[in-house]
């Protein structure tokens, strides 16, 4: 087992627009990317569970040129709304860091 934080070179979050949050995981090489992708661990169900969001609201895309997996979900509140807690959406990646990928 290895955690995303041990495998990835980038694990981050950011606003995709003022109402959407995007989560990027970039792996150092094709082998690591393939290992994570083929594990099937990074799926809509995982994002749904980690972020309390409906699976139907999760966009999940792989981007082989960057050895990357990206998930995008609606923000809980618009950026900078009174109830919002992260204007840039830049600190929402934490739960992904400890996701385990089987060997």
């Amino acid at each position: 087992m290895a955690r995303i934080r041990d495998l990835a070179v980038i694990c981050r979050s950011k606003n995709a627009n003022p109402f959407a949050l995007t989560l990027d995981m970039v792996f150092p090489d094709k082998e690591t990317f393939e290992k994570v992708r083929s594990s099937g661990v990074i799926c809509k169900e995982l994002i749904s569970r980690l972020y309390s969001v409906a699976e139907s609201d999760v966009l999940l895309v792989e981007f082989p040129p960057a050895n990357a997996i990206k998930a995008t979900i609606p923000r809980l509140h618009g950026s900078g709304a009174v109830e919002d807690s992260d204007v840039y959406g830049a600190q929402q990646h934490g739960p992904l860091m400890d996701v385990d990928i089987p060997d």
């Binding site: 959407a20 309390s52 204007v87």
Partner: protein, 458 residues
């Protein structure tokens, strides 16, 4: 097209971020055809659009604009800034215009300047909405006509067409209000009839300065130069300490979007499903494989904000081991007491918001925080009131701060104050609060309709 290639310089990611002068001088040796820079972003949130304020300092913006302007005038090439002043409303455009005119006066520079206005009237948006010409952008739903009425500022994101018009009109300097980030740079290659896919890819890269270069932690405020040719583009960083690699450039296409594969622009979709990035040398990457699919409908993204009240905050914290473990029930009791007191003042609960942000528990992720237990020895609590007037917000926050200090809780031994404050005065009036209320795509009758161009001789 007179040249076989176009070279475009972005000196930094946002005007005012402060690139090194030597980096610009270095790339000017390549005789670029355009020097351009993004001037803003929605990143810092809705307040800047609402207030008409910039999020960089005036001196910082003037410093960057001076170097860009001098370089452009010396070489008789265009200088273009989009999303001027941070959010691209008329107030931001005017702020940038005044800085540029000041630089011109101080340095005896003269040129023809185009100002592209991007602020939109409520009447225009309401009319388009009534005509069925406004569609939501994911994940929002349909636009509420009442939200349009409540808006304080609405801007449209200009495509390449107003820039092409202004370039054709002989403007050497173009300042645009809110703009599609990539359009700032894509306009010239599209005007010169290069493959629009390459123009848009170049724009995507240029709008974020050296974000596509590594190491990211070094020279983060530097820029890049893109060379556009018939069937490919080349990208390299301006600072010699930076390098572009196929991986750093590919990774960049993940930046601030919902998918790296398809990018919606006003006149079509940039398709990167066949993107190919190859190293040319140690610091230059060649890009091929981008496609552009024109769409039937021409659409402009609208952004709007409305004033929702005035904020007062108070930073406090506790290191009491009993309170740390009972913080939720304690704050519920504080809230109940404040609601009762404010109700006694004749102000109903729906007129204001009282927010407690507990740092050490779930301040960053709120309801989405998967870790439920508190695992720390101390907690920070930001108390916040948002009300229709600053005075009322201050009043309500004062009640919360007082209740928070004195309230009893089960197991309390610290009867001199259960939370404390790092500042005197403890309460900080934070001014107007704006929220985004619009992220929708409107179909104008023509690409120029929403973006009137004003020409001035400086």
């Amino acid at each position: 097209m007179s040249d076989q290639e176009l070279r475009i310089v972005a000196p930094t990611a946002i005007v005012g971020y402060g690139f090194q002068e030597s980096s610009l001088e270095r790339v000017l040796q390549k005789n670029p055809h355009l020097i351009a820079c993004d001037g803003g972003s929605t990143d810092p949130g809705p307040n800047y659009l609402g207030m008409g304020k910039a999020f960089v300092g005036r001196d910082a913006a003037k410093r960057d604009l001076s170097l860009m302007l001098q370089a452009a005038v010396d070489r008789q090439i265009p200088m273009v800034v989009g999303t001027s002043g941070g959010a691209g409303a008329d107030a931001h455009l005017q702020w940038t215009r005044e800085i540029v005119e000041e630089i011109a006066r101080e340095n005896n520079l003269d040129f023809k300047m185009a100002l592209i206005h991007a602020e939109q009237s409520k009447e225009y948006v309401s009319k388009k909405l009534a005509d069925g010409k406004v569609q939501p952008i994911w994940p929002l739903g349909p636009l509420d006509p009442k939200a349009v009425d409540r808006s304080t500022n609405i801007v449209g994101m200009a495509g390449v067409e107003p820039y092409i018009e202004a370039l054709g009109g002989g403007a050497q300097v173009i300042l645009c209000g809110r703009s599609d980030d990539a359009a700032i740079f894509a306009a010239l290659p599209i005007k010169e009839e290069f493959d629009p896919a390459l123009g848009w890819v170049a724009g995507k890269l240029l709008e974020c300065g050296a974000a596509c270069a590594v190491p990211r932690q070094k020279f983060g405020n530097e820029g890049i130069t893109v060379t556009i040719r018939e069937d490919h583009i080349l990208v390299e960083p301006n600072h010699p300490g930076l390098t572009c690699t196929p991986l750093s450039v590919s990774t960049f296409f993940l930046h601030e979007n919902e998918t790296p594969l398809y990018h919606t622009e006003p006149s079509g979709v940039l398709d990167l499903t066949k993107l190919d990035c190859q190293a040319v040398d140690e610091r230059t990457v060649k890009i091929t494989g981008a496609q552009f699919h024109p769409t039937d409908k021409y659409t402009i993204r609208l952004e709007g904000v409305e004033l929702v009240g005035y904020r007062c905050i108070c930073v406090s914290y506790t290191r009491d081991p009993v309170l740390v473990q009972s913080i939720d029930s304690y704050l519920d009791a504080v809230r109940a007491l404040v609601v009762k007191r404010v109700d006694g003042m004749g102000v109903p609960a729906e007129d204001y918001k009282l927010v407690f942000r507990v740092i050490g528990k779930n301040a960053v992720m709120g309801e989405r925080e998967p870790v439920k237990e508190v695992l720390t020895h101390e907690l920070g609590i930001i108390m916040e009131a948002v009300a229709p007037t600053q005075d009322l917000a201050n009043e309500i926050l004062g009640l919360a701060r007082q209740a928070g200090k004195n309230l009893h809780y089960e197991g309390k031994l610290c009867d001199e104050g259960c939370i404390t404050y790092p500042y005197s005065p403890s309460d900080i009036p934070a001014g107007p609060v704006y929220e985004y209320n619009m992220l929708h795509a409107v179909e104008p009758d023509s690409p120029l309709e929403m973006f009137p161009i004003e020409y001035v001789t400086v």
